[in-house]
Amino acid sequence: MVPLSYYMVLSAIVFLTGFVGVLIRRNIIILLLSIELMLNATNINFVAFSHYLNDVSGQVFVFFTLTVAAAEVAVGLAIIIALYRGKATVNVEDLNLMKW
């Protein structure tokens, strides 16, 4: 049986990959993808704990995470499209009106 800590380390790696992706990429779509990575990392954790604690609640929470992810994607992509229509760019560095 695989120890729980393995899953946790895997989850940490995936989460931090998404975390780094948010910090280093310029394409706003990739930023959203990175957020998906982070959400999946938490899902892995939830399911692993659900299995090891033998409690289905963890899986129910993954279900809710999926819901929120779907909502986030729908709204996020809509925002991106609206932005692209206005500024013709998906580069976050160009979206810097909120300064000084």
Binding site: M1, V2, P3, L4, S5, Y6, M8, L10, A12, I13, V14, L16, T17, G18, F19, V20, G21, L23, I24, R25, R26, N27, I29, I30, L32, L33, E36, L37, N40, N43, V47, S50, H51, Y52, L53, N54, D55, V56, S57, Q59, V60, F63, F64, L66, T67, V68, A69, A70, A71, E72, V73, A74, V75, L77, A78, I79, I81, A82, R85, V90
Partner: protein, 181 residues
């Protein structure tokens, strides 16, 4: 067998996750993410979460990623997409954070000790939970969703509704006072 499966899935997940961030072309990133989702679903199967594995494939791979691909292709982006100037900082922070997390996991000794095993928890869990375990995974989730988590379930449906309306409003031309292009 279980261990082999875990390492296979884990290796592919990590690799594809890194590729998602590393690819310069968004389409490659999305494809890499697709591969990763499938392997996450496989990992779920090994953890006896069959229903979630199915949902993972249907919702994530089927719906969400298609939406991504759709947008990426719709916008028809230029391919050369360099990294941020703060790339060094980002990766450095990632490594430090990873080190800290692994240290935490290892020092906490979670899951390594047999005390927190199925048997121990089954003993402490309520009779209802124990009863659930004996049924199938899908039934158990359904039971929980419509009993204990009924209210969050309804809230989730509301969130989806709001997101749907929001997405339509945002993406539609001429709404919210935006000029026609």
């Amino acid at each position: 067998m279980e261990t082999v499966a875990f390492f296979y899935f884990a290796a592919v997940i990590v690799l594809t996750a890194v590729l998602v961030v590393a690819f310069r072309n968004p389409i490659y990133s999305v494809i890499a993410l697709l591969v990763m989702f499938f392997h996450v679903a496989g990992l779920f199967v090994t953890l006896h979460a069959e229903f979630l594995a199915a949902v993972q494939i249907v919702v994530y791979a089927g719906a969400i990623l298609v939406l991504y691909l759709f947008v990426v292709m719709l916008l028809n982006l230029k391919q050369d997409d360099s990294y941020q100037r703060q790339v060094g900082w980002g990766i450095g922070l990632g490594i430090v954070g990873l080190a800290e997390m692994i240290y935490l996991v290892l020092s906490a000794q979670v899951g390594n000790s047999p005390a927190i095993g199925t048997a121990a928890l089954q003993a402490s869990a309520s009779p209802k939970v124990a009863a659930i375990v004996t049924r199938g995974n899908t039934e158990a989730i359904g039971y929980m969703l419509y009993t204990k988590y009924l209210f969050p379930f309804e809230v989730a449906s509301l969130i989806l509704l709001v997101a749907m309306i929001g997405a339509i409003l945002l993406a539609k031309k001429g709404v919210l006072g935006m000029k026609e292009p």
